[in-house]
Amino acid sequence: MSRRDGLGCAVAHPFIERTVLALWSTVSPARLSIASWDDDDLAVVYDKVTGDTHLIESSAIEILRLIEKSPASAEAIAHELADLISADDQDKLPQFISATLLQLRDLGLVTDTPV
């Protein structure tokens, strides 16, 4: 979410700004194994290099699958996934994606490269 400062310029929220100005990708190709189920909003991911197994939201899987194919900015990801969510939730999407990307980065599953 951006807010306008007194001078009428758009000032991006620093939280979002970090994620918007970077290209996100999964850590090395074919490193992650994913298991998800239709009737479950949670999924599991195995990292072949660290040997760790993580419990994550199914929606995060969509993001992983997207950036596994080709690195993308948070904005581009939001654009791609916009079709998957209802109109009511559209405005929450950018923040959700940023939060999820940071979470995935903490788990060591994705990296961001500044543009």
């Binding site: 194994s33 298991a35 998800s36 189920w37 009737d39 479950d40 909003d41 949670l42 999924a43 599991v44 195995y46 072949k48 040997g51 197994t53 419990l55």
Partner: protein, 304 residues
């Protein structure tokens, strides 16, 4: 030859010499002990198990030796050893059989990476099997014992041996460990149940071991394909509730409750995924074994 066919004196002699070769399918354990009561407990609890001929390969050499010196006479203690290497704590001699059981569990869990070893009970009836993984304190053993006393086959109470390639689960049909109130509950439920005398003051309270049914032991070589994974959740006074459980959460619980999930690497991930894929996953909240028996029979008949 079965343990029940060996005279007690001979059993005690074999134990003292370290020549008792107990077949705990799929393993063989060579057991040595100088604790007299241990021979009696083994005779009772492992009556239907086989003894192997001498000089066969034993997977595990285990010993329960009495501590020497002052501890031999004053508050006598015994200690579990694995192939001559003692465990760190001695325990009162009265707990010798429980110590043997725990020690054997450790041997299997720590060294058998041909299986994914899951801390779970596994039972079977009419060709359908239920896996009950649960952290300590969830009532798993009581539930398992209750169902086994009412006709379910026991594969395991503690260690489910999941063969990664085939997806089949093996058990050893070994005695079930009960504690505190569970002991009386099971005695009331099945007055004919054969148990060791309760041993008080263990780290887990009073414990007793329950002998598995003869049919369970006879069929120990038959593995199962799991149909259901049920997480037991004992809540005092609760009506029986069988609720569908997130497969992803069930996955994580199985991984956490496996002794060697990490060692199995990618194959472990794939195996647990396959297990969770092909089963129905539930959480079962209950307070009465009668309720549990009904619910599980309904499950069997497809009425959930």
């Amino acid at each position: 030859m079965k343990i029940s066919e060996v005279p007690l004196a001979e059993l005690a002699r074999l134990l003292r010499c370290g020549d008792l070769l107990l077949r705990l399918t799929p393993f063989v354990a060579r057991v040595a002990s100088d604790v007299p009561s241990l021979a009696q407990d083994i005779a009772l609890m492992y009556a239907d198990f086989d003894i192997c001929p001498p000089n066969v390969f034993a997977d595990f050499h285990v010993q329960v030796w009495r501590d020497s010196g002052v501890r031999r006479w004053i508050k006598p203690q015994a200690r579990f050893s694995f192939d001559g290497q003692p465990s760190f704590t001695g325990l009162p001699v009265a707990q010798a059989f429980a110590m043997l059981e725990w020690g054997l569990n450790w041997c299997v869990a720590a060294h058998s990476h041909q299986y994914l070893v899951i801390h779970a009970a596994v039972i079977e009836k009419n060709g359908k099997a239920v896996v009950l993984p649960a952290p300590p304190g969830s009532g798993k053993s009581t539930l398992c014992a209750g169902l086994v006393m009412k006709g379910w086959r026991l594969l395991s109470d503690e260690l489910a041996l999941y063969e990664l390639q085939s997806g089949l689960i093996y058990g050893m049909a070994r005695p079930i460990s009960l504690k505190n109130q569970s002991i009386d509950i099971i005695k009331r439920l099945a007055p004919d149940a054969v148990m060791t005398a309760p041993v008080p003051d263990t780290t887990k309270g009073t414990i007793a071991l329950l002998r598995p049914s003869v049919s369970s032991v006879m069929r120990v070589k038959e593995p199962v394909q799991a149909t259901w994974i049920v997480l037991p959740n004992y809540v005092h006074g609760s009506p029986p509730i069988l609720a569908p459980h997130s497969r992803a959460r069930t996955f994580m619980l199985l991984a956490e409750q496996s002794f060697n999930y990490d060692t199995q690497g990618q194959n472990g991930f794939d195996a647990v995924t396959a297990l969770v894929d092909r089963t129905q996953c539930y959480q079962f909240t209950y307070s009465s074994l009668d309720d549990a028996q009904r619910v599980f029979d309904n499950l069997l008949q497809g009425q959930v």
